[in-house]
Symmetry: C2
């Protein structure tokens, strides 16, 4: 067995994943009579709501990533390790990882979600996902490379491929990405690429259902569509994506859009670790959990956040895959685990819906706070404020704040750098996961 | 021939390289009756003096890189293209590039320099260079990965390899890198890696000659050594490096240091484009130029900055490979090219030595300004101020300033992220140049 992780005398809680839920849970266990071991494949937390800003050159990657060791600095009962978890051996209460086998008393899966291509491997191999920092940086490189290449492309078809940018999925991420691309076109392309015919650059937002921002009010939906329209985005609702070969996107009505940049924000699926009983994996590849986030069929394995589906009357598919849900579940689970260890009664989870918001661009955002709904400039400042305040760690906040203030007054997006060129790989895996050979960020 | 770059009626000046010299030259040609075409393999300028800050997690990569298109925004007589130059065909007055053939009337090589391993291929394949942003990010990843790995390494030899960091070369870059690593050890490791025995972490600075900072005053040399000593760096002068296999560094006195992180700052060589007459390539792989930076043997090919060797009595090996020399040459060449076109007499180059400085760490720097020499806190603030002011573009300055102020008061280095893991490649080329397949920044 494993030599590296001898268990102490206190109960050991192993947390897989340093996302919003995992961090909250670990922090709330500070100074408690438990040993916390967190593992993550990265040494940093990714502030996912702002990934689209990195992909479109608005923020540095480092501004939305935060070293996990720094977050837990001084937390004596916590050990952090960078590793990938290969398997859960529930019968033995251990997980197998790339750095050895780790025993647990309580296991918490806070593994989050990844892009869901719904089994369409051709699309998966060619469209650009945007769920991690390497993926966002790949996208940034591709967008900028295409603009460079378009300047010297003479073939009309090739130019169209290079200058048509298609966002698939009209949820908050899709809306925000399409808006950010439109702003890039409006404020930066003209000055940075004087040789490009600006009208040749087209941004499409493709959504399968009849509405954008399905989870928000009809007011917000309408206004978001108006904002996108103002910015010149072509919105295609009720439109399914049938295929994408890296050059041409084929839509449900047989329409074809030439494009070498198709951004996939059409769905996510939970990241379930091998070894768990898949009987209780429900829609969206989430683990079915009870009211205290215990995974169905297990006694000491919990799931929180995007990977957990706590099915209730109000939430027949589980709670929305947003940061507040993960944070609230992590917070309560910390309390409940301590209660369980102390053999006290637990408290059931109750989701507090903080509302939803999406930004389409400068001065253009939509906010739903229960009964209160507003759109436009004030909504945009609200969005900025909330995201700034939520960003983990003071330093990052300040750098992001400086970037945003600068962008606001200069109409400029900061970091249009092709640090590492992106080359579309033939291998689906290569595109979908960070490359592991020869290079780094 | 080439269709993409039809020459206009004005004389065309082609500049290869967007470093300090190339940028200065291009800017000074603004609003003149010439067409300027700049090519660079990256779409950004790299502020090389601060690369070591990126490598040691002090600054974001994006803070020291600046989009070239943004620098030349609104300069109507300038065209910029991202491409790699393959060959100069001097007889035809064209260069061959990856995006086609480009005609020139005047060609300026501002290609800069790259790491010089002096033909030692084993070292080249295993040591970490730090002359570009991808290289600096690779090094950052490797340092952090080694610290992670050391936490679980049980073999003493392996632990020593992971925790010994060796900087080869005692010039400003080597001194600054060793100092930054020592500060990382002192202020960050203890809190971030509570399981690591801090005394197991060793930083070595290996220099072949009898002194560090050979180009500076003996006062500066002594004080820099004192500062490094205070910070716990082991300085090995008069020590040659014989070999490095990726695990053990072999020194001239047969001493061996186990280390998986050997940082190479022992020398640079000019980047000379293929096709040029190599007869006039002198020491350091530089092109011999006359007093107006005209390359020996040519009528309309110039070289400025690191790749140029203007040999004078005072500078028998050409001017130092520093930003001010490149900037001054670029500035004068702009004037001289316009004079040549107008058939007016040219002016010979005269180097204005601005002095030299190096920072060893917080409050510890050495400055030589001709007769004025000072060291310590004030020198450190001088260093900060000069670098901040020199950084291209307001936005970057502000972000860097925020980072530095924050670091100053918190004793914290900001961005300890392993965005893309680094894996040492068997292939020398892979390590030496940015990887071109499958991934991006």
């Amino acid at each position: 067995m494993d030599q590296h992780f001898p268990k102490g005398t206190q109960p050991r809680i192993v947390i897989i994943g340093g996302g919003f839920g995992g961090i909250e849970l670990a922090k709330k266990l500070r100074n408690q009579a438990v040993d916390v071991l967190m593992v993550d494949k990265h040494n940093y937390h990714t502030f996912q709501p702002l990934l689209y800003q990195v992909a479109t050159g608005g923020l540095e990657a480092d501004s939305i990533a935060f070293p996990l060791r720094k977050i837990f600095k001084g937390q004596k009962n916590l050990t952090f390790r960078v590793t990938e978890v290969k398997k859960v051996l529930a019968a033995q209460n251990v997980i197998e990882t790339t750095i050895g086998t780790i025993e647990y008393d309580y296991l918490v899966l806070a593994t989050g979600s990844t892009s869901n291509f719904f089994g369409q491997t051709e699309i998966e191999g060619n469209a650009m996902p945007m769920k991690s920092i390497p993926e966002a940086l790949n996208l940034r490189s591709l967008i900028l490379q295409n603009l460079e290449a378009a300047q010297i492309a003479e073939d009309a078809q090739q130019r169209a491929e290079l200058l048509n940018f298609v966002v698939v999925g009209g949820g908050p991420t899709g809306v925000e990405t399409a808006g950010a691309l439109a702003e890039l076109k409006k404020h930066v392309l003209k000055s940075d690429y004087p040789d490009l015919e600006i009208n040749d650059v087209n941004i499409y937002l493709v959504e399968g259902s009849p509405a954008l921002l399905a989870a928000m009010s009809s007011q917000a939906q309408q206004k978001a569509a108006d904002f996108l329209h103002e910015l010149g985005v072509t919105i295609m609702k009720n439109t399914r994506v049938l295929g994408y070969d890296g050059k041409v996107l084929t839509l449900g009505d047989e329409q074809k859009i030439p494009s070498s940049t198709v951004i996939w924000s059409a769905g996510v699926k939970g990241v379930v670790i091998e070894g768990l009983n898949t009987e209780h994996v429900v829609r969206g590849n989430r683990l079915k959990v009870n009211e205290i986030n215990l995974v169905d069929g297990y006694q000491n394995i919990y799931a929180i956040g995007d990977v957990a589906a706590m099915i209730t009357e109000e939430f027949p598919n589980g709670h929305p895959g947003v940061a507040p849900a993960a944070i609230q579940q992590g917070k309560l689970l910390a309390k409940n685990l301590l209660r369980i260890i102390a053999k006290q009664p637990t408290e059931n989870f109750k989701y507090f819906d903080k509302g939803a918001m999406a930004t389409v661009g400068r001065n253009r955002a939509v906010v739903d706070l229960h009964k209160i709904r507003f759109q436009g400039v004030f909504a945009w400042f609200t969005w900025m404020f909330v995201h700034l305040m939520t960003l983990v760690g003071f330093r990052n906040k300040l750098v992001v704040f400086v970037n945003w203030v600068w962008s606001y007054f200069s109409y400029d997006r900061g970091t249009r750098l092709i640090i590492r060129p992106f080359h579309r790989s033939k291998d689906v895996k290569q595109t979908a996961v960070p490359n592991e050979s020869g290079t780094s960020h």
